[in-house]
């Protein structure tokens, strides 16, 4: 099934990947880590990076659905 996924990057990760978002339209995307690998071929996900789907924290094996927004970012440092 053709899926459309918006991918977002923040903070130091945004700088290291060199962009703030991707719009992926692909088949065969099933989990969060699949989304990373498709959007960043040849670049493994740094160890400490957190992930969210539709603005909720998730594990990397979390399923994704058509229309989801998937975000990757480093540990948070607010407050």
């Amino acid at each position: 099934m053709l899926m459309s996924i918006k991918v977002r990057y923040f903070a130091s990760l945004k700088e290291s990947v060199g962009r703030s978002e991707d719009n992926l339209v692909f088949t065969g995307l099933s989990t969060v880590i699949d989304v990373w690998n498709r959007a960043n071929p040849g670049r493994s996900l740094p160890a400490n990076i957190l992930a969210a789907v539709n603005m909720n924290y998730v594990e990397l094996d979390n399923k994704v659905d058509d229309g989801d927004e998937v975000a990757f970012f480093p540990p948070v440092t607010g407050g």
Partner: protein
């Protein structure tokens, strides 16, 4: 309950006063107000810092803050909560965050306020980038446990 993300300088004391004036119905039941204000230091990890930029994830930040406040409301009998957080360019001395919790008794106010600021520090998607006086820039990698262990 209110959550505010401010792109400009805010005065936490004015925010508290305004919020209390806008919510006069709370005043009879409230016996305790616990306030945490975080301000920007001019030093970090042994270096002089002259500015900071705070990035956030619009939408997710508010969603996570609302979730944190809901968790506090489940654990303590909280009457009202106000959370204000700065984003954008910040200078030393400026307020970064305000957490205000109103309850009937002080223990609940202290505990809920601490829970909210500690959860915000570990779960709310904000990121700080420091500008040092040496003109170097660096991302803050992790929040500390909140004590001066120096």
């Amino acid at each position: 309950m209110a959550i505010k993300i401010c792109a400009d300088v805010f005065d936490p004391y004015v925010e508290i006063q305004d919020y209390q004036n806008e919510n006069p119905g709370n005043s009879g039941a409230v016996g305790a107000s616990s306030i945490f204000i975080g301000t920007m230091r001019d030093f970090n990890e042994g270096d002089a810092v002259k500015g900071m930029t705070l990035e956030y994830y619009p939408g997710m930040t508010e969603k996570q803050l609302a979730k944190i406040i809901a968790e506090a409301q489940q654990q303590w009998p909280v009457i009202d909560t106000l959370v204000v957080h700065r984003v954008g360019d910040i200078l030393p001395g400026h307020a970064i965050v305000l957490v205000a919790v109103w309850t009937s008794h002080r223990g609940d106010a202290f505990d809920a306020c601490r829970f909210i600021i500690d959860a915000l520090k570990s779960k709310a998607p904000f990121w700080k980038k420091e500008l040092l006086t040496s003109e170097d820039e660096r991302w803050v990698v992790a929040n500390t446990d909140g004590y001066n262990r120096g």
